[in-house]
Symmetry: C2
Subunit: 392 residues, 2 copies
């Protein structure tokens, strides 16, 4: 039963309801059989009353451990680590280490790595089962262990942990507390969950809708999308205000309205591309300070180039269609400016989010395109007005 719950794919806040349906003692037994990290994930959603009941029914040691882990902050190494690992001391031999392995093999979540600790539980070295199997039975652990050992702090962000496991192809990674004591391990299967979660978040962020927890019916779906949809609609009033400023200009020649959607579309598209690229760069980057200015400059330049060629195409299309090359060139210039500004916007928003302590990947594409619409309206009618005044 514990095994089944270890592998269960449902959301923890659902699974905790299954526990409620069980006799408490049975639920406690299942929890005890589960790996601690999985049990903690689920118990984080239990009501305080239920939680206390389960913990009282658990063996004291297990209860203390779960209580401790429930205090680790969400999305840190501590929250996803497991406390079932194999640890030995450096003065043991390979033979005695293999003996420990055999004894603990049934409980530990992974037995591929064996960690070497000293009397204060400080992490000293690591061995793989491969090392044990390929060394002489009488070899001393401290002579054959690998060191230094890469480890993560218990408060490390889970995304950083995922990156380390990914970069080094580890199957598990030890977790230490700030004093350097080993207190758990993070396994690669927990990291796959983190990667899935983070990538669903990035995708959801860009789309402006949570795709990780899809609701069952259209009412729930609509309720989840409404706040965001209504918010953007209200923000869109600013664009309506800008267009209303140019009523007199538009009345002089309503033809100019024909092409506003193309300029807004091209700018919105450029802004979204710039957003996706910038958010990815920020997420990938370790030393961000020196190159933020460079990133903005690069996106501005990319926008200028894309805007230049888009502007030429736009000028040719509108010029030929309207048999008026001057008009085409004015529109092309407006597009060039609008695309460049939107490119900078798409790059600035994730930088601003990051400065505010938010996740740079959480800037929705629709926020960029709504602000881009506003700026495009200003730039489009503004450019036409300037040239109108020059020539009429």
């Amino acid at each position: 039963m514990g095994d089944m719950f270890n592998a269960i794919e449902e959301e923890p806040d659902q699974v905790v309801n299954y526990f409620k349906e069980m006799i408490p003692q049975y639920a406690a037994d299942v929890i005890y059989e589960m790996y601690t990290d999985n049990a903690v994930d689920i118990l984080a959603y239990a009501k305080a009353k239920d939680l206390n009941q389960y913990l009282e029914l658990l063996p004291a040691e297990a209860a203390v451990e779960i209580r401790g882990m429930l205090h680790y902050q969400d999305k840190t190494a501590g929250a996803i680590m497991s406390t079932e690992y194999v640890a030995i001391t450096g003065n043991q031999t390979v033979r005695s280490a293999l003996h420990v392995m055999k004894k603990e093999a049934l409980d530990a979540e992974t037995i591929y790595y064996i960690y070497v600790i000293d009397d204060e539980e400080n992490l000293q070295g690591v061995l793989t089962l491969r090392d044990l199997l390929t060394n002489d039975d009488d070899a001393l652990i401290s002579d054959i262990m690998n060191r230094p050992v890469m480890s993560v702090d218990v408060q490390e962000d889970q995304e950083e942990v995922a990156q380390t496991i990914r970069d080094y192809n580890f199957i598990a990674l030890p977790v230490t507390n700030p004093e350097g004591k080993m207190i758990g391990i993070i396994n690669v299967d927990d990291i796959i969950d983190v990667i899935d979660e983070e990538s669903a978040q990035d995708y959801s962020g860009l789309a402006g809708v949570d795709v990780d927890n899809l609701p069952g019916n259209p009412w729930q779906a609509a309720l989840k999308r409404l706040p965001w949809s209504l918010g953007l609609l209200i923000l869109g009033i600013t664009t309506a205000v800008v267009i209303s400023w140019y009523q007199t200009l538009i009345q002089k020649d309503t033809l100019m309205v024909t092409f506003i959607a193309m300029v807004m579309g091209a700018s919105g598209n450029a802004g979204t591309q710039s957003l996706a690229v910038s958010a990815t760069r920020i997420a990938d980057k370790d030393d961000e300070e020196e190159s933020t200015a460079k990133m903005v400059a690069n996106e501005a330049l990319t926008g200028l180039i894309v805007g230049f060629f888009s502007g030429i195409l736009f000028a040719v299309i509108t010029g030929i269609w309207q048999q008026d090359l001057d008009f085409g060139l004015i529109l092309g210039l407006a597009l060039l400016i609008a695309v460049t500004i939107s490119n900078v916007l798409g790059c600035l928003l994730p930088i601003i989010f990051k400065k505010l302590g938010k996740d740079a990947s959480n800037v929705p594409g629709a926020l960029v395109s709504t602000i881009s619409d506003l700026l495009s309206a200003l730039i489009y009618f503004g450019t036409i007005q300037i040239f109108w005044n020059l020539y009429h």
Copy 2:
């Protein structure tokens, strides 16, 4: 050197250039030291002449294996599998299996699983090192092995393989050919690469720009974005044509232009949300046939609900602003229709992509919003025209 190249983070098409800079025999030595799957990834980018030179300098057996794997299709199990694994037969004892392990431990990419094969190399069962360590040394492998063994076909899509490893928390998964012979294993670290690749693709698809291979300078970046930007600009001409149809209507009261951007923005946003949700549903779903119609119906209903409340808000805003409730109600109705249609559009496009044999996650958000702009223009001015004709 082989270890360094196994862990190298650069793109294979870059790494192959390092080989070119080496003396061919040295390159062959490095290739020989590498795990076969990693070497094959890189050699897939080598020129035929260089490839043949390396293969001639390799031991015959290794050359045959690499040549064989180069023929597996990209993004299948065969292309990402490794051929370094430990296999034993069922009539061995735990002791002799451990002996085999010790001998092969240095070469195999993972020694956590030991596969049991018969004389025809058909996969019979699997053991973990844990099983070996916790069973008596004299136990017969066929008595203690786990069966049936979950395996994947060599032609299986890598995404399916990733899903299986994820669902069952495996560290490795055996690969069989169509006759059931075991021919390789896929390790969890290779699967993490697949998951990263697929999620970067989904994100890139939605954004309409490749974020997986970020170019170094603005020129390259612009060149990558230009085809897409120009293509959408050309598609946008259709929207301009639609708006030009309504010139006479717009001339009657240019005020209506003020709110077109809000309707296009709200519809585009709704369409993108619907796209992200639908593409995710399609990717997650196994039995798609029965519920495609239901998915479209659900999105239409979600669009109606979001459109209804957005329409009311829009009617109130525009009605109060223009001191004309009738005008507000007409605009609100237009928004309701436009949002609903865009929701259906965002859901239909990934379905159509899938039917055409393309990846449903590759529908760009900007394609949805460009088509949505066109439809919104039609619906917006069309609705106003109908009521104009009714009341004037």
